[in-house]
């Protein structure tokens, strides 16, 4: 049993790393008032470009950088459409997901080596981000799983507290929150709403690209059509579940990642399931639905207690009445 839980935790952390990177990115984007539903397409493009460029260059770090640049570029399109051209954020996000998913699957059959008929499917990386165990710490029962992870996850351990501190304890973080809460007031305070929205939409996309890279370079080191398999949508759910707080993102990923990993672990262990696997598959979404509804209802009379950015999804222009 102990062994089962440790294995489950290890699988959860491995999968959760990808989710957490993208979630932190999307939290920052949404905090400035921009909803980016392009996560699924951006993560998939990140996974693809990371894999293709690692294969070509032989360096995993080149893969990471390329994935971040790709994610940043896709989100730049979203920022341009939503901020400069004041386009509808929902439609723009869906367009990015459509375009990104299509392009990634398209390029997956184009960027491979000649010997494999230009296909990336079926190719193997010479190396991947392997787990690095920290002596002593890794021997702690169950929790030791946290100290036998890839370098990407260790990086995340540093980023989570930093992302929380930056958002809530710095002047710049205050500016981000102001822009998402009340762009008009923020603009009156002398902040550039457009600049902040551009910046954090792009950074959010870079994190999503990184999240995708975690999948194709570490979690399942390979390329497959649509390999994100809806993780981009789980990210949207996780942002809500974390109540837009980067510090809480990790709780959500552990719960959601745990539920997803549980499906596979139970199957692998040959345990007959009481709950059908499909129920576990949609549980994160149902939980998020209830969380969002209950939180909103409970906070009817306490404005500000519920952390959803008020200006989320709406464009802003000074001349708007």
């Amino acid at each position: 049993m102990m062994d089962f839980i440790t294995k489950l935790l290890a699988a959860t952390i491995a999968m959760g790393t990808s989710l957490t990177f993208a979630t932190i990115g999307e939290i920052y984007t949404e905090k400035t008032g921009v909803l980016n539903l392009g996560m699924e397409g951006t993560m998939l493009m990140g996974a693809l470009t990371a894999f293709a460029s690692t294969l070509a260059s032989g360096s995993l770090y080149v893969g990471l950088v390329v994935a971040m640049l790709t994610g940043g570029m896709l989100s730049l399109i979203h920022a341009f459409l939503c901020v400069t051209m004041r386009a509808n954020q929902v439609v723009s996000g869906l367009a990015i997901t459509m375009f990104g998913t299509g392009l990634a699957n398209f390029l997956g059959q184009r960027l491979g080596p000649v010997s494999n008929n230009y296909n990336l499917v079926g190719m193997n990386l010479p190396k991947k981000f392997d787990n690095i165990a920290i002596p002593l710490l890794k021997d702690i029962p169950v929790l030791g799983a946290f100290f036998d992870v890839s370098i990407l996850t260790y990086l995340l351990y540093l980023i989570i507290p930093f992302a929380w501190f930056f958002m809530y304890k710095t002047k710049h973080g205050l500016a981000i929150r102001a822009v998402g809460e009340s762009p008009k007031t923020a603009a009156a305070m002398g902040l550039s709403v457009s600049r902040l929205r551009y910046l954090y939409t792009i950074i959010g996309g870079m994190f999503a690209g990184l999240g995708g890279a975690c999948l194709s370079l570490s979690f399942t080191p390979s390329w497959n059509d649509g390999m994100t398999g809806g993780k981009g949508w789980i990210v949207i759910a996780l942002v809500i579940f974390a109540t837009w707080n980067p510090g809480k993102a990790v709780i959500g990923t552990l719960v959601f990642g745990g539920i997803t990993s549980l499906q596979f672990s139970l199957q692998a262990a040959g345990i007959k399931m009481v709950i059908p696997t499909q129920f576990l598959a949609f549980a994160p979404y149902l939980i998020t639905f209830f969380t969002l509804s209950v939180m909103t209802i409970l906070n009817q009379n306490r404005k500000g207690a519920f952390a959803s950015p008020s200006a989320l999804g709406s464009s802003f222009a000074i001349d708007d009445k």
């Binding site: 392009l103 398209f106 059959q109 499909q278 949609f282 979404y285 969002l292």
Partner: protein, 352 residues
């Protein structure tokens, strides 16, 4: 010289027509870049797509069949969008429509066979309406964010459908999926592959056009969307209308799922969540919420899909090219949409 964006006094009709045209040309050029980069002749590729989508009667029929669920979902979400209510749950409501009709076909066998189809469509519609009504009510009563709730509910519906066709309702023989509906209860084909669903879809277009442009309720919905304050002063109940619009919206998306299931798969199986609901959102937006314009937009988007299938066969290009092009059509269109309600103003530099 400085350029500023200024709000127009009225929507520009000329721009509303010009922008989609220019956008479409721009997107074809962007697509050409992708094609050239993958060492294909873009003219040849577009020719193959056009031929694949409309080349002969059979291909034209496929394109029409593919456009019907897009059109219906587009019409459905369009109603909610009039209120600025972002129903992105069309996918889930569509899936409930498919579940509903399967439930009737499989378990309501006490009904005479000719009754199965109409009852099935009605049940599918009702389930879609209920599934949409919940976020509608939550929004109206407690302003729970509808974009996020409807999105989350999609995946619950998809998961439930999977559970049903993989486990609970699975046919004893054969692979994944429920047993086939009785042949007499299928939605009949009327012209090659084109099924009777086309009548339902076109009837909906006319009905909704009438409802939205010619009735008092349509007028109220428009007013709430454009100016909720004014609507409230006029004594229009916003809460009631949000719930009603959502129920109607979900009913149409649900009907779309029932129709497609009764006409094509004839059972609940893999592929029930083909993304029609998501593309429907784009159809609604692209058509400017006009039911008649939706027909054209749905056919174009469907042609990109069926054309891309042909592209794969004719030129050995991945079929995901269709999705790339669908995305590429949207990006310039989204960028241009600002000029319908805004204009550029060039100001000569002057001393302040």
């Amino acid at each position: 010289m400085r350029v500023v964006v200024e709000k127009r006094d009225t929507r520009s009709k000329r721009m509303a027509i010009l922008i989609p045209l220019v956008s479409f040309i721009v997107s074809l050029m962007l697509g050409a870049i992708v094609l050239i980069a993958s060492k294909s002749n873009p003219l040849q590729a577009y020719g193959a797509m056009l031929n694949g989508a409309f080349g002969n009667a059979r291909r034209f029929q496929y394109t029409i069949v593919e456009s019907l669920p897009l059109l219906m979902c587009g019409l459905g979400v369009g109603i909610a969008f009039r209120l600025k209510f972002w129903n992105i749950g069309a996918e889930g409501q569509y899936v409930w429509g498919a579940i509903g009709i399967t439930w009737v076909m499989q378990f309501w066998r006490f009904l005479p066979v000719p009754m199965l189809l109409p009852v099935g469509l009605a049940v599918g519609m009702t389930l879609g309406a209920l599934w949409a009504g919940v976020p509608g009510f939550l929004k109206a009563q407690w302003s729970v964010d509808e974009t996020l709730t409807t999105l989350m509910l999609n995946y619950v519906a998809i998961g439930l459908a999977e559970y049903l066709y993989i486990n609970k309702w699975k046919a004893p023989l054969g692979n994944m999926g429920t047993p086939e509906f009785p042949r007499e209860a299928w939605l009949p084909q009327i012209w090659g592959k084109v099924h009777a669903g086309i009548f339902i879809a076109l009837a909906l277009v006319v009905l909704l056009w009438f409802l939205l442009y010619k009735t008092r309720w349509g007028f109220e919905l428009n007013m709430i969307g454009k100016n909720p304050k004014a609507a409230r002063y006029q004594g229009v109940s916003i809460k009631r209308n949000i719930v009603l619009a959502m129920i109607l919206s979900g009913a149409i998306c649900g009907l779309s799922g029932s129709v497609n299931t009764a006409a094509i798969a004839h059972r609940l199986t893999k592929g029930v969540n083909a993304g029609y609901g998501f593309t429907g959102i784009i159809i609604a937006w692209m058509s400017g919420l006009n039911p008649f314009a939706s027909i054209l937009v749905a056919v174009v988007m469907a042609a990109l899909t069926t054309g891309a299938d042909a592209l794969q066969i004719a030129m050995k290009l991945p079929e995901s090219m269709g999705e790339v092009l669908q995305g590429l059509v949207l990006i310039p269109l989204l960028a241009g949409s600002i000029f319908v309600e805004h204009k550029l103003k060039f100001i000569k530099k002057e001393a302040a």
